[in-house]
C-alpha cells in the first residue's frame, strides 16, 4: 500500500500527471522516471567530472574541451604536492577544522543537553539567540576582527581562524545536538535518577553514550562547515603561514596575471574535495539525518 501511495505522489509531481497508472503490479518504474534519475545523476556528477577531466590535462589540451583527456597525465597533481604552500595549507585546514570541531562539540553538547532536557528560565531566549547567530553574516564578524587581530597579534595565525570559525560552529553544533538529545527516550535517564544518580551523572553516563551517533553527525557537519570556510580564511590571513586550503587555492590565480593556472587549480580542487566526498559518502545517512533534524521537526 505504501508503494502504491508513493507512485501516486510521484506521479502527481512528475512531468505527466496523467500517466499515473491504476493499480500497478509491483514496483514498475515508468520510463520518464528513469529519465529523471539519469538527469539528476548527470546534473550532480557532470560538473565534477569536468573538473577531474581538466585536472588530468596539460598544456594545450586544457582548452580543447575533449570529454576525455587525450593525453592523461598526473603532472598537475605532482605539481601541487611539490607546492609547499599547498601542502602547508592542507595541514592548516586539518588543524583549524579539527580544533573548531572538537571545541564546538564539547562545549556545545553541555548547552544542548540543558536546552533539550532541563527546565529553566530563558530557554527560549537562548535557543533563539543560538538560531539567530547561525544567520549572522560572517562579514559583521570579519570586519572588526581584521582590526582587532592586528592589534593583539592574532592576525595571520591559525588561532585567529579557529576563534571566528567557532562563532558559527558552536550554534550549529548546539542546534543539531538539541534535536538529537530530544530523541533519546527519557525513561533511561529517569531510571538513572531514581537509582540515585545526579543530573550530571545521568548526562555523562546515560545520555552521552546514547547520543554518540548524533554527536558524530554534528561533528561531521561542523567539520565540513569549518573546512569550507572562506571569508575569514581570506580576510584574516596574509601569508601561506596561516592560509587554509580554500584561501590558498584562491591565491593560485594571483600568481600569474595573464594565464589562470587552471590545471593546478583543478587538481588542487579535486584533492581537497576527495576527503569531503569520502566522508559524505561514508556517513551519508547520518548527514542527511543531521541536516534534516531541524527542518522536519519544525
Amino acid at each position: 500500500m505504501a508503494t502504491a501511495a508513493t507512485t501516486q505522489a510521484g506521479a502527481g509531481a512528475g512531468a505527466k500527471p496523467t500517466t499515473s497508472k491504476k493499480t500497478d503490479t509491483g514496483p514498475k518504474t515508468p520510463w520518464w522516471m528513469w529519465l529523471c534519475v539519469v538527469a539528476i545523476v548527470f546534473y550532480c556528477l557532470f560538473p565534477f567530472y569536468w573538473l577531474i577531466n581538466l585536472s588530468l590535462k596539460t598544456g594545450a589540451d586544457l582548452s580543447n574541451n575533449a570529454l576525455v583527456p587525450p593525453n592523461p597525465s598526473l603532472a598537475n597533481y605532482k605539481a601541487i604536492f611539490r607546492n609547499d604552500d599547498f601542502v602547508r595549507a592542507l595541514g592548516n585546514s586539518v588543524w583549524v577544522a579539527g580544533w573548531t570541531t572538537v571545541l564546538a562539540i564539547t562545549i556545545g553538547s553541555f548547552c544542548a543537553y540543558a536546552l533539550a532536557r532541563l527546565r529553566f528560565k530563558g530557554k527560549f531566549f537562548i535557543l533563539g539567540l543560538v538560531l539567530a547567530i547561525t544567520t549572522f553574516p560572517g562579514i559583521a564578524i570579519a570586519a572588526p576582527l581584521f582590526k582587532l587581530w592586528s592589534n593583539i597579534g592574532l592576525f595571520d595565525t591559525l588561532t585567529g581562524l579557529i576563534i571566528p570559525d567557532l562563532t558559527f560552529a558552536l550554534p550549529l553544533a548546539i542546534f543539531i545536538l538539541v534535536s538529537f538529545f530530544k530523541e533519546i527516550p527519557k525513561d533511561l535517564e529517569e531510571a538513572a535518577l531514581v537509582d540515585g544518580a545526579t543530573y550530571f551523572q545521568a548526562f555523562r553516563k546515560v545520555v552521552v553514550p546514547l547520543a554518540a551517533p548524533g554527536m558524530a553527525t554534528a561533528a561531521i557537519l561542523v567539520f565540513i562547515g569549518a573546512w569550507n570556510e572562506f571569508l575569514f580564511a581570506i580576510t584574516l590571513t596574509s601569508t601561506p603561514q596561516a592560509r587554509t586550503v580554500p584561501a590558498a587555492i584562491a591565491f593560485f590565480t594571483g600568481a600569474t596575471t595573464f594565464e589562470v593556472p587552471i590545471g593546478t587549480i583543478t587538481a588542487a580542487s579535486v584533492v581537497i574535495s576527495i576527503p569531503l566526498i569520502a566522508m559524505v559518502l561514508l556517513f551519508q545517512k547520518r548527514i542527511v539525518a543531521g541536516l534534516t533534524a531541524g527542518a522536519v521537526k519544525g
Partner: protein, 306 residues
C-alpha cells in the same frame, strides 16, 4: 519503569537537593560556557564593529582615529556602490533561492517516486553539496571560460561570460543553484517521507486527482519543512561572498554587500566605512530574518518547548 519512576519520585522537589546540583544550577553551569563563548566570539566583535563604524581612521598614520558619528553611514547610504551591491545581493538571493526551491522540489519528488536507484540518487545528490564553495566557483569558471570554455564550444559562441553585465551574475547564480538545489531536495525529501501514505489512499478513494493530491495534501504538509529550508537558504544567500570573490571579484555587476564591505576594509583599509557596510549588511539580514521568523515563529517555539 515509568511507573516506578513516578512512584518513587513522588516528592521530586526534595529529592533534587540530595542530588548534587539542582536542575536550575546544573542548567546554568551547562549553558554558561557556550554563552560566554558566544559573547566572546559573536557579541563582542559585533559591538566592536559598531564602534569602528562610528569612527574615522587615518590611512597614513596607523592607529590614529577620530569620532565620526554617523558620517560613515550617511556616506554609505549616499553611495551608489552600496546601492548597486544591495541590488545585486537582493536579485541574487531572490532568483537563486527561487530556482533552488523549484529545482529542489522537482528533484525531491522524483527521488521520492523512484523505486530503483533511490540509493544511488541519495548518494550523488550529496556530491554538489559536499564540494567546497571555492571549488564550485573554479569549476563553473572553467566551464564558462571564454573564449574556449565548454559552454562556448557547445553553443558555438564566443561570449565573454564573466566579463559583461548580466552574464556574470547569471553564471554566479547557476553555480549557486547547482550547489544548493540538491541540499534543498534533501530537506524537502525528508519532509515528504513524513507524510503517511494512508492520506493519499484516502484521498484517492474520495476521487482526488493526482494534481489535487499534490496541491491539497503534499504541499500543505510540506510547508513547515519548506519554510525552514527557505529561511536558511535566504539568509545564507544574503551573505554571499565566496562565489563572486572567486568568479569575478565583484566586477561586472556582481559586487555583493559582503564583498563590497570586505574590499573596503581589508583591501583598501578604510575601516570606518567598511565596518559601516558590514553593519548595514548585518541589519539587512536581520530585517529579512525578522520578517521570516514572524511568519514561522511557532516552529521555533515548538522546538524550544517539547
Amino acid at each position: 519503569m515509568a511507573e516506578t519512576a513516578t512512584l518513587q519520585g513522588a516528592p521530586p522537589q526534595q529529592r533534587q537537593r540530595s542530588r548534587g546540583l539542582s536542575e536550575k544550577k546544573l542548567a546554568f553551569t551547562m549553558v554558561s560556557p557556550s554563552m560566554l563563548l558566544i559573547a566572546l566570539v559573536a557579541a563582542y566583535p559585533i559591538l566592536y564593529g559598531i564602534w569602528l563604524s562610528l569612527h574615522e581612521y587615518s590611512v597614513r598614520v596607523a592607529g590614529l582615529s577620530r569620532w565620526a558619528g554617523l558620517s560613515n553611514y550617511t556616506e554609505a547610504l549616499g553611495n551608489s556602490e552600496f546601492w548597486s551591491a544591495m541590488g545585486t545581493t537582493l536579485v541574487f538571493t531572490a532568483v537563486s533561492v527561487t530556482l533552488e526551491f523549484l529545482l529542489g522540489l522537482a528533484m525531491a519528488m522524483a527521488m521520492h517516486a523512484a523505486f530503483r536507484g533511490q540509493g544511488l540518487l541519495r548518494t550523488v545528490i550529496l556530491i554538489p553539496w559536499s564540494l567546497l564553495t571555492v571549488v564550485t566557483g573554479f569549476m563553473w569558471r572553467s566551464i564558462f571560460e571564454s573564449p574556449q570554455g565548454l559552454v562556448n564550444t557547445l553553443l558555438g559562441t564566443d561570449t565573454v561570460w564573466l566579463g559583461q553585465k548580466p552574464h556574470a551574475l547569471i553564471v554566479i547564480i547557476i553555480a549557486d543553484v547547482w550547489k544548493t538545489a540538491p541540499f534543498m531536495a534533501l530537506l524537502i525529501l525528508a519532509g515528504l517521507q513524513t507524510i503517511p501514505g494512508e492520506i493519499y489512499e484516502a484521498a484517492k478513494v474520495d476521487g482526488a486527482k493526482s494534481w489535487q493530491r499534490f496541491t491539497k495534501i503534499t504541499m500543505p504538509l510540506l510547508v513547515p519543512a519548506i519554510l525552514v529550508a527557505l529561511i536558511f537558504r535566504t539568509l545564507d544567500a544574503l551573505r554571499i561572498f565566496d562565489l563572486p570573490y572567486v568568479l569575478t571579484k565583484g566586477a561586472n555587476g556582481t559586487n555583493t554587500l559582503s564583498l563590497l564591505s570586505q574590499q573596503t576594509f581589508a583591501e583598501n583599509r578604510i575601516y570606518g566605512l567598511g565596518s559601516a557596510y558590514a553593519i548595514l549588511t548585518f541589519i539587512t539580514v536581520m530585517i529579512v530574518a525578522f520578517l521570516y521568523i514572524r511568519t514561522v515563529g511557532g516552529n521555533i517555539r515548538g522546538i524550544a518547548e517539547d
